[in-house]
């Protein structure tokens, strides 16, 4: 299929990109890895007048430390996230979730920032980002602002990024020494999650000192399973304790039905997978 005609611009800096966004009067779209946007254009489900390609902006690439935080450039590819030593050491949950995204071709093109900005509730990186309390740095005509993950995801495919703004960095607190697991449930290896559970725990001897749990595809936005987290804190990581905590997995969810799962099955999966994700994290 062939997209409708569009104009194309590839700025070299964030400032240039912001200016290009401001100058565009017709509908404009940011192009990151194109792994979600191009199918939409090719199926002519959208026909923006202009694409602004972030691919040439060096500032948006790569992972660095900034004090207690890690900073991931929005255009860092899934492939680079998987192999980044800082993320592997301090934010393993993001790496493990990224390992489950699509296939090698898509992971070479698709980007971390693009996934968050796209905000597909079935996307695998949203729940880990939410669970880890990351912050999004958004650039726009009025300068930069920082939005916590809890306020970033607004609705299906909708985020706090305004029409004249772009997501430029993701700031991640260091979870050094935490254990993590991303439990993804899908039908074939390359598919999106039917349900996914992101779990990170800080062990203290046999006890769980702290826990972070996020759910994929259980609402129009990723869901933070605070009830589960609270039930885990101070508990020994026994199968019984974890299963009991997982009973809280549905707090704050509002799942929908599709061909792969109706609501009851999705809710059942959320509990089973929460228990499995926490167990795997706690025993890893």
């Amino acid at each position: 299929m062939i997209p409708a005609a569009f104009d194309y611009e590839a700025p070299n800096t964030i400032d240039e990109a912001v200016r290009a966004l401001a100058e565009a009067d017709d509908e404009v779209k940011i192009l990151a890895g194109g792994q979600s946007l191009l199918p939409v254009l090719r199926m002519r489900l959208a026909a923006p007048a202009k694409l602004i390609d972030l691919g040439r902006i060096g500032e948006l690439q790569g992972v660095r430390t900034d004090g207690d935080m890690l900073v991931i450039g929005a255009m860092t590819s899934h492939y680079d996230v998987q192999r980044d030593p800082l993320l592997n050491e301090h934010a393993k949950l993001l790496v493990m979730a990224t390992d489950t995204v699509a296939d090698p071709q898509v992971r070479h093109r698709g980007t971390f920032g693009g996934s968050l900005a796209h905000a597909d509730p079935a996307g695998d990186l949203l729940a880990p980002a939410l669970a880890l309390d990351v912050e999004m740095v958004i650039a726009g005509p009025r300068g930069r602002r920082t939005v916590p993950a809890a306020e970033f995801f607004v609705d299906y495919f909708t985020t706090a990024v305004g029409e004249d703004e772009l997501l430029c960095e993701i700031r991640v607190p260091k979870y050094t020494g935490w254990h993590a697991h991303y439990e993804k449930f899908n039908r074939v290896a390359q598919a999106w999650s039917i349900v996914g559970v992101a779990a990170a725990v800080r062990p203290d001897g046999h006890m769980i000192a702290e826990a972070r749990v996020g759910l994929t595809n259980m609402a129009s936005v990723p869901v933070r399973a605070r009830g589960v987290e609270q039930a885990l804190v101070g508990q020994e990581a026994t199968p019984e304790a974890i299963r009991a905590a997982a009973e809280h997995a549905l707090d704050g969810t509002s799942p929908t039905a599709d061909g792969n799962a109706d609501v009851a099955y999705r809710e059942h999966l959320a509990k089973v997978l929460t228990s499995r994700a926490v167990s795997a994290a706690a025993t890893s």
Partner: protein, 792 residues
């Protein structure tokens, strides 16, 4: 000019030769239709109906016509007089109802995806832009989607002019045919009866290369390149459908990237491109998108199968009754109505069933037409009977292999004429089963299964069995005639010795990934005693291979290669005559072996290459012998061939989530003699993946408006290597007695055998939890529901 020295060592057949064609096919640096471009070529795009059933009140294309680059917009009304009705070659009954099937809808659309108008433009992008400017005024008509309700009194009709949604009902009864008793009587008097209804979900062939067509009308002949399995049938049908003379049409199937039956078709797109190019007098190319392919290329399977099996308490089957509903979709395409009939002969499978009744009603719905898809009729039949054998075993508390053995045809009973009238050539079910059992570790897995059940493990183990056979080598022409099929089942081949001793082989079968070039080279190299690399195989062009019936139904080797063998034998016979003349001896004294003709008992000899050169010079040929070493042959098989095998599948079912994991899979196939074991292995492995896909993953789903909701590869789940285990494959070899090569066919075996093996295994894993059946595909949600109750 010197003749090539005889370099042939012999023994090509049986070797795992790397495939000649793979380098170009895998790299894609070849003549895929869409890779081709002609001077002045136009691009065509197709506007398709978004609605499943509607009247077309008006089409306004005025804006589209005025857009940049647009050469023409063509609607059904513009070609109504030329397009004819798309052919259906298989009127299964005399009173079969078949609607008029326009290539481009004229006043009504009958499925979402049906072609409504086309734009021809200088570029594909401009053609697609202009599609959006065409305004069609549709008036909704009632949509018929469900076969069972389509058959109820007072149902809305897909084609009101036909007065019914039933196209035809086809019946076979062994009591009437005199091949067995009455199934009804067997059921009435049976010690045990098993009744089940299975659903064969709708599948999409999902060939890798989308369909693509290029038509050049500028020469004396109109030439069509098409990504088709059937260039010869296509040429004939284009002539018959459009009225253009056959000798004015040339069809070329260049390299074709897969088909699985999905390109065994004469498509609306081919007819439209042909007509439009001729109308404009310019070359026109059309290549479909994946989404178009899913909503317009024919689908497969889609049957409801109601089975009743009668048996006695020791597991001997005494009768079988099969009642089918088969979804035709909106129109009858090339062999649509015949697909379930191909299955009619296979429900009795490898078993000696004394009484058999089969009936099938073909039903119209407002969906994409169905037609052949890998196995065509036989996977459906094999699935149903193999599921029933497992159910019988469970009912009687017997081992499923033991029940099968009690009923199957013993190896010393071949040839064996079945209750459904076919004569099986050869087989050894005992040997294949013993080998599969051993490779699988059957007894150890059964022990583990018992242990997991005892422990109440959340992951339960299931073992699935499929002992299958199928009929390959379509087909003896007289059998096709008896089934009212519109053509024969022969195949054509030719062999030409070139002056330098090289060989051109022409085959009427038309490969689209199978590896004919390699296998035919191996066969001809051995036959003529020339080198493997000295043979070139030409195919898929009605100009070079003027005659053929193409590739489907595992017929290429069993029928197509046999024609080539016969042509090669004619070359040898003629060369022998010339050799005798050259060596001044009697023809009867000439022996031929390894490419050399030798005077018996002497060391006087000459090579076939030397003879080829002598024939070219023609200076000294025997009287009355024409100066050529070319020959042709047409082979019509006496009978089908019947490959078989035993497949065993172990699955682990996660009872908490319903997820099925394939743990191990053993396939022991008997495909008769093997020409190239690597090609056989490839066919088996790919076939397994496709059959497993039906069991666990793939399903074409329509919503209540008749919109295909599994319209992309993100929703229609084709498994990849990551979703499948490493298969353990092996073979037994029981040569076919139907053809001189002793080959049986392997193109569909894996697909036919694996679906029931997997589903039997899943059901077996959770049978102790009260599950007796799980609808395909066995998705995690369905499996979980089956275990934990509640409506599926």
């Amino acid at each position: 000019m010197t003749a090539t020295a005889d370099s042939h060592a012999g023994g090509e057949v049986g070797q795992a030769r790397l495939r000649k064609e793979d380098a170009r096919l895998i790299a894609g640096r070849t003549r895929w239709t869409d890779n081709m471009s002609l001077p002045g070529m136009m691009h065509m795009a197709i506007l398709r109906s978004p609605l499943a059933h509607a009247r077309i009140n008006r089409i306004d294309a005025s804006e589209a016509r005025s857009m940049s680059g647009v050469e023409a917009v063509v609607t059904g009304a513009d070609v109504a007089d030329d397009q004819g009705s798309l052919p259906c070659a298989w009127p299964i009954t005399e009173d079969m109802k078949s609607p008029n099937a326009p290539s481009l809808a004229v006043d009504e659309v009958n499925f979402a995806g049906e072609a409504v108008a086309v734009v021809v433009a200088r570029s594909a992008a401009e053609a697609h832009d202009a599609l959006e400017a065409i305004d069609v005024d549709y008036e909704d008509l009632p949509v018929v989607l469900d076969m069972s309700s389509a058959m109820t009194e007072g149902s809305d009709l897909v084609h009101p002019d036909l007065g019914t949604n039933a196209s035809a009902t086809w019946v076979f009864d062994s009591a009437e045919a005199g091949t067995g008793g009455s199934a009804d009587e067997a059921l009435a008097g049976a010690e045990v009866t098993i009744h089940r209804t299975f659903r064969q979900q709708r599948l999409i062939p999902a060939f890798m290369e989308p369909r693509s067509i290029l038509v050049d009308p500028t020469g004396e002949q109109t030439t069509m390149w098409s990504a088709t399995q059937v260039p010869h049938i296509l040429r004939l049908m284009l002539a018959m459908t459009t009225g253009v003379d056959e000798h004015k049409i040339r069809v070329i199937a260049p390299d074709v990237g897969g088909g699985f039956g999905g390109k065994l078709q004469v498509t609306p797109e081919e007819v439209i491109t042909f007509l439009v190019a001729r109308k404009l007098g310019k070359p026109v190319k059309y290549t479909e998108s994946r989404s178009e392919s899913f909503t317009s290329a024919h689908h497969g399977r889609d049957q409801i199968q109601k089975l009743s099996l009668a048996a006695d308490r020791n597991g001997t089957v005494t009768g079988l009754k099969v009642e089918l509903l088969a979804d035709m979709g909106a129109y009858l395409r090339l062999v649509t109505p015949g697909v379930p009939i191909l299955g009619a002969f296979m429900f009795n499978a490898i078993y000696k069933i004394p009484a058999y009744h089969f009936s099938c009603t073909n039903v119209f719905t407002n969906k994409v037409p169905t037609d052949a898809y890998r196995g065509a009729g036989r996977p459906e039949a094999t699935f149903a009977i193999e599921r029933m054998m497992d159910e019988l075993a469970a009912e009687l508390g017997m081992d499923p292999l033991e029940v099968r053995e009690r009923n199957w045809i013993k190896h010393d009973e071949f040839p064996y004429t079945t209750v459904s009238t076919l004569t099986y050539d050869s087989g050894n079910y005992e040997a294949a089963t013993a080998r599969a059992r051993e490779l699988f570790g059957y007894d150890a897995l059964r022990a583990e299964q018992a242990e997991r059940r005892r422990r109440g493990d959340t992951v339960q183990l299931g073992i699935g069995v499929s002992t299958f056979t199928e009929m390959c080598g379509l087909a003896p022409s007289r059998v096709l005639g008896a089934l009212s099929y519109g053509a024969g089942g022969w195949e054509h081949g030719a062999v030409r010795m070139l002056p330098t001793g090289k060989v051109e082989v022409i085959t009427g079968s038309s490969p689209h990934g199978q590896g004919h070039e390699t296998a035919w080279s191996q066969i001809v190299a051995d036959r003529l005693g020339v080198g493997f690399d000295d043979v070139e195989v030409l195919h898929g062009d009605t100009q070079s291979s003027h005659k053929g019936l193409d590739t489907y139904g595992s017929r290429s080797l069993t029928v197509g290669a046999m024609a080539v063998v016969q042509a090669a034998d004619k070359v040898i016979a003629k060369a022998r005559k010339i050799a005798a003349h050259m060596m001044e001896c009697a023809e009867g004294d000439v022996e031929f072996s390894g490419g050399r003709f030798t005077v018996r008992g002497t060391d006087t000899s000459t090579s076939i290459q030397e003879i080829a050169l002598a024939v070219f010079a023609a200076h000294d040929l025997p009287d009355g012998v024409e100066p050529s070493l070319d020959s042709e042959a047409t082979f019509d098989p006496e009978n089908f061939s019947f490959p078989h095998g035993t497949h065993l599948c172990a699955t682990e079912v996660d009872t908490e989530t319903g997820r099925v994991r394939l743990r191990s899979y053993v396939a022991v196939d008997d495909v008769g003699n093997v020409v190239n074991p690597m090609i056989v292995e490839g066919q088996v492995q790919g076939g397994l993946a496709q059959g497993i896909a039906q069991a666990l993953f793939e399903e074409a789903v329509y919503d209540e408006t008749g919109t295909l909701t599994s319209g992309t590869l993100a929703d229609y789940l084709v498994p990849s290597a990551a979703d499948l285990p490493s298969f353990t494959t092996d073979r037994t070899e029981t040569p076919s007695t139907t053809n001189a090569l002793g080959v049986k066919g392997v193109g569909e075996a894996g697909t036919i055998a694996s679906t029931p093996a997997v589903v039997n295994s899943v059901v077996d894993a959770v049978r102790h939890m009260g599950v007796r059946d799980i609808e395909m595909p066995c998705t995690p949600m369905r499996v979980w529901r089956a275990i934990h109750g509640g409506a599926q």
